[in-house]
C-alpha cells in the first residue's frame, strides 16, 4: 500500500472539518471542526516526512500541535466569556460585523 492513501485521508478529514466549520453554529463545535482540520494537516505532514525520509515534517506537525493547544486555550476562554455575557454559544449571535 502506498502511504499516499494517508494523504487522501487527510484531505478528506480536512474537507469534512472545513464543511463543519461552515455548517455548525455552536461555537464549540465549530472549534472542534477546526481542530479536526489541524489534525488532518498534521497527518499530512507526518506522511510527508515519511515519504521524504526526514523529520522536518514531524517537526512542523509538532509545532502545529503546540500552536493548536495555545489556540484552543485562548479560543475556549473567549467562548466562555462570550457565553457569560450573552448566554449563548452561537457564532451567528456575534454578527456585529454588519455595516
Amino acid at each position: 500500500m502506498n502511504p499516499v492513501n494517508y494523504l487522501y485521508l487527510a484531505a478528506l478529514l480536512f474537507t469534512i472539518g472545513a464543511t463543519g466549520v461552515l455548517i455548525r453554529r455552536n461555537a464549540i463545535v465549530v472549534f472542534m471542526c477546526i481542530e479536526l482540520m489541524l489534525n488532518a494537516c498534521n497527518l499530512a505532514f507526518v506522511t510527508f516526512s515519511r515519504m521524504h525520509g526526514n523529520l522536518d515534517g514531524q517537526i512542523i506537525a509538532f509545532f502545529t500541535m503546540v500552536v493548536a493547544a495555545a489556540e484552543v486555550v485562548v479560543g475556549l476562554a473567549i467562548i466562555v466569556s462570550l457565553f457569560r455575557t450573552r448566554h449563548s454559544a452561537s457564532v451567528d449571535d456575534a454578527s456585529l460585523m454588519k455595516l
Partner: protein, 648 residues
C-alpha cells in the same frame, strides 16, 4: 500750453473725487466746490481757446502725451490728449453749459439732502465727457464714452428710491452697452487692420485697406453712435432717462452727452468718407430718427418727454448732416452747439416751470403761466423760437444749412433726405408750439384741482419737502436759476448769427473736418422759403388745435398714430416682448438645464455608485460563517487555479 489740457479734465475729476469721498462734512459747501471746479475748467478752456486763436489755422492742434497706458507687444495704447478745433468747440460747450447748469442746480437741488453727491456725479460727468472729446485714440475715447454712460446711469437713477428711476437708469446703461459693443468691435477691427487705433495712424492709412473693412468699421461706429445719441433703433432709453433731475436732462440728455455720437461720426470723418455705404446708413438713421423723435414729441403730455422727443429729432438732424460727409460735418457741429444752447435753455425753463408747479410735469395741468413766471416765459419763448428756426435766431441758421446740405447730396437720396428734413421742420414747429401754448397760454387748468392725482406719482420728490398737496402757487424761480436761463437764451438768440455771419464757424472747423460745397439742385433761397412755409404750416396747425380750442385736462383717446406715439411708437413694447421676455425664458431654461442636465449627469453617476454599493452591502451580512464560505470558496478557486497552471 499743451500741459493745460490735462488740467481741463483734472479739475472736475478732482471735484468728483473730493465730493464723493469727502463725506457728510462737505454737505454745506459741496455744491459750490463742484460749481467752482467746473467753472475753473471752463476758464482753462477759454485760455486754451485764446491760445488756439493765437495760432494760424493750420497748426491749431495740440497733442499732450501723458503716459503709456497699455503697452503689450503690438498693442500700444497711450493716454494722449488731442486738442484741435473740433474738441475745442466741444470743450467750450461742455464746460460752459456745464458750469451754467451747475449754477442752476445749486438752486434746483436746494431741498435735496443728497445734493453733494449730485454735484459729485455732475463733475464726474464733466470729466468723462472732456476725456471723450480730448482723447487721441479710440480706446481712450472708449473710456470717456463709458464714463459718461456711468455718470448718466448714476444721475438718471439719482432718486433711486423710485423704482421707475432705477429701472430707467439700468435701461439707459444697457442700451448704451449695446452701442459700446459696436465701438469695441470697431476698435478691434482697426487694430487688426491698421495695427493701431490712434486717430493719426488710422486716418492716414484709410486709403490702404479694403472698402469692406472700412464699411464694417464705420457701421460699428454708427452702432456706437446710435446707442449714445439715442438714434433708431437704440433710442428707447432717452424718454425714460427723463426720470433724472431736470438739470441732468438739460446737460446730459440734451446739450452734451447725447451729442457724443455726432462727435464720433464727425471725428471719424476720414473713415466715413471712404465708406459711402456706411454714410448712406448714417443718413438713413438720421432721417428716420428725426421724424421718429418729432412724432413722439407731438404726442407726449409730459413736458420733459416732449422735449426729449424733440432732442431725439434734433440729433437726428445732426446725424443726418454728419452722414452727408464733408458737406454736412460743419453744420452738424454747428447745429449741435446751437442746439446745446436752446435745448438746454428749454429744459431749464421746463425745470423752472415744474419748480413753480410742485413738480407737476403734465402739460395738461399747466396753462396761462406766462404772467406768473415772466422770466421763464421769455427765456423759454426765445428757446422755442430758436428751435423752430425762427428767422434770425440760431436754430434758423444751423437747421437751414442742414436742410440745404441734405438737398445738396444730390440724386433721389438728396430729395428724400431733404424732404424728410423739411417735414421734420414742420413737425418741430408743431410740437414746440403745442408745448408753448399748453404751458404758457390758455386758461389756467391747474386751478381748483389737486396738484397731482394719486395714481400719477411725483416726478421729483423735492415736492415731499415743500410737500403741500393743495392747489399750486406758480411763482418765479430764484435768481440762481434764472440767470443761467437768461445766458442760454442769449446764446440761443445770437449764437447762430454769430457763427454764420462770414462763415466764422465754417472756417474755424474746416481744417479738421474739411468742407465741400455740394451742388444743390435747388437754390439756398428756395430751401429757406420752403422751410419758412413748413414752419408757418406747423405753427398754424398747432395753434388751430391748442390755441383756439381749450385744451382738455385729460388727454383724449386720440388717433391710432397718437396712441402709438404716446407709447414711443411701440418701441418699448417690442423690446419687452422680444428681448426681455425672450431673455427671461432663455435664462430660466438655462438655469433648469444647468441644474438637471449638466449637474444631473454628475449626480446621476454618484447615485448610480450609491445604489451599486447598497446592493453589494447586502452581501456583508455580518455572519462570520458566510464570510468563511466565501473564503473557503476562494481557497478552492486558488487550488483549482494552481492545478490548471500545472496542467497547462
Amino acid at each position: 500750453m499743451e500741459n493745460l489740457i490735462a488740467l481741463l479734465i483734472a479739475a472736475p475729476l478732482l471735484g468728483a473725487a473730493v465730493l464723493l469721498v469727502g463725506g457728510r462734512r462737505l454737505d454745506a459747501v459741496g455744491h459750490w466746490i463742484g460749481t467752482l471746479l467746473s467753472a475753473a475748467s471752463f476758464v482753462i478752456g477759454l485760455v486754451l481757446f485764446a491760445g488756439l486763436l493765437g495760432r494760424d489755422a493750420g497748426s491749431r492742434t495740440l497733442i499732450q502725451h501723458l503716459f503709456s497706458w497699455i503697452p503689450v507687444a503690438g498693442f500700444q495704447a497711450d493716454v494722449t490728449f488731442r486738442l484741435d478745433q473740433l474738441s475745442m468747440t466741444f470743450v467750450l460747450l461742455i464746460t460752459g453749459v456745464g458750469s451754467l447748469i451747475h449754477l442752476y442746480s445749486v438752486g434746483y437741488m436746494e431741498h435735496d439732502e443728497r445734493r453733494r453727491r449730485f454735484f459729485g456725479y455732475l463733475n464726474l460727468f464733466l470729466a468723462a465727457m472732456l476725456l471723450l472729446v480730448l482723447a487721441d485714440n479710440y480706446l481712450l475715447l472708449y473710456v470717456g464714452w463709458e464714463g459718461v454712460g456711468l455718470a448718466s446711469y448714476l444721475l438718471i437713477g439719482f432718486w433711486q428710491h423710485k423704482p421707475s428711476a432705477a429701472t430707467a437708469a439700468k435701461k439707459a446703461f444697457l442700451v448704451n452697452r449695446v452701442g459700446d459693443m459696436g465701438l469695441s468691435i470697431a476698435i478691434m477691427l482697426m487694430f487688426t487692420t491698421f495695427g493701431s487705433f490712434a486717430f493719426g495712424p488710422v486716418f492716414s492709412h484709410v486709403g490702404d485697406t479694403s472698402q469692406g473693412k472700412l464699411t464694417a468699421i464705420a457701421l460699428m461706429l454708427l452702432l456706437a453712435a446710435c446707442g449714445k445719441s439715442a438714434q433708431v433703433p437704440l433710442q428707447s432709453w432717452l424718454g425714460d432717462a427723463m426720470e433724472g433731475p431736470t438739470p441732468v436732462s438739460a446737460l446730459i440728455h440734451a446739450a452734451t452727452m447725447v451729442t457724443a455720437g455726432v462727435y464720433l461720426i464727425v471725428r471719424s470723418g476720414a473713415v466715413f468718407n471712404a465708406a459711402p455705404d456706411a454714410q448712406l446708413a448714417v443718413t438713413v438713421v438720421g432721417a428716420v430718427t428725426l421724424l421718429f423723435g418729432a412724432i413722439v414729441g407731438c404726442a407726449k403730455d409730459d413736458i420733459k418727454k416732449a422735449l426729449a422727443g424733440s432732442t431725439m429729432s434734433q440729433i437726428g438732424y445732426m446725424v443726418l448732416a454728419a452722414g452727408l460727409g464733408p458737406i454736412g460735418y460743419v453744420f452738424a457741429i454747428m447745429h449741435l452747439v446751437t442746439h446745446g444752447f436752446f435745448k438746454a435753455g428749454l429744459f431749464l425753463g421746463a425745470g423752472s416751470v415744474m419748480h413753480g408747479m410742485n413738480d407737476e410735469v403734465d402739460m395738461r395741468r399747466y396753462g396761462g403761466l406766462r404772467k406768473y413766471m415772466p422770466v421763464t416765459f421769455i427765456t423759454f419763448g426765445l428757446g422755442y423760437l430758436a428751435i423752430i428756426g425762427f428767422p434770425g435766431l440760431s436754430g434758423f441758421f444751423s437747421k437751414d444749412k442742414i436742410i440745404e446740405a441734405a438737398f445738396a447730396k444730390g440724386g433721389t437720396e438728396g430729395w428724400i433726405l431733404g424732404g424728410a428734413a423739411l417735414l421734420g421742420a414742420a413737425i418741430t414747429a408743431f410740437y414746440m408750439t403745442r408745448v408753448m401754448l399748453m404751458t404758457f397760454f390758455g386758461e389756467e387748468r391747474w386751478r381748483n384741482q389737486p396738484t397731482r392725482s394719486p395714481e400719477a406719482p411725483s416726478a421729483e420728490p423735492a415736492a415731499e419737502h415743500r410737500g403741500e398737496h393743495a392747489e399750486p402757487h406758480p411763482h418765479e424761480s430764484p435768481k440762481v436759476m434764472t440767470i443761467p436761463m437768461i445766458v442760454l437764451a442769449v446764446g440761443s438768440v445770437f449764437g447762430g448769427a454769430f457763427f454764420s455771419i462770414g462763415d466764422r464757424f465754417l472756417h474755424w472747423l474746416e481744417p479738421v473736418t474739411g468742407h465741400s460745397e455740394g451742388n444743390s439742385p435747388v437754390s439756398a433761397w428756395t430751401v429757406t422759403g420752403a422751410t419758412m412755409v413748413c414752419l408757418v404750416v406747423g405753427v398754424a396747425i398747432a395753434w388751430a388745435q391748442y390755441g383756439r380750442k381749450p385744451v382738455p385736462a385729460v388727454a383724449p383717446r386720440g388717433s391710432l398714430l397718437t396712441r402709438a406715439a404716446r407709447r414711443d411708437l411701440l418701441q418699448d413694447d417690442f423690446n419687452h416682448v422680444v428681448l426681455v421676455r425672450g431673455g427671461e425664458h432663455l435664462t430660466r431654461s438655462l438655469v433648469y438645464v444647468d441644474h438637471t442636465l449638466v449637474d444631473g449627469v454628475v449626480n446621476g453617476t454618484a447615485a448610480g455608485f450609491g445604489g451599486l454599493s447598497g446592493r453589494l452591502r447586502r452581501v456583508q451580512n455580518g455572519f462570520a460563517r458566510s464570510y468563511a464560505v466565501s473564503m473557503f470558496g476562494g481557497a478552492a478557486l486558488l487550488v483549482a487555479a494552481t492545478l490548471l497552471m500545472r496542467a497547462v
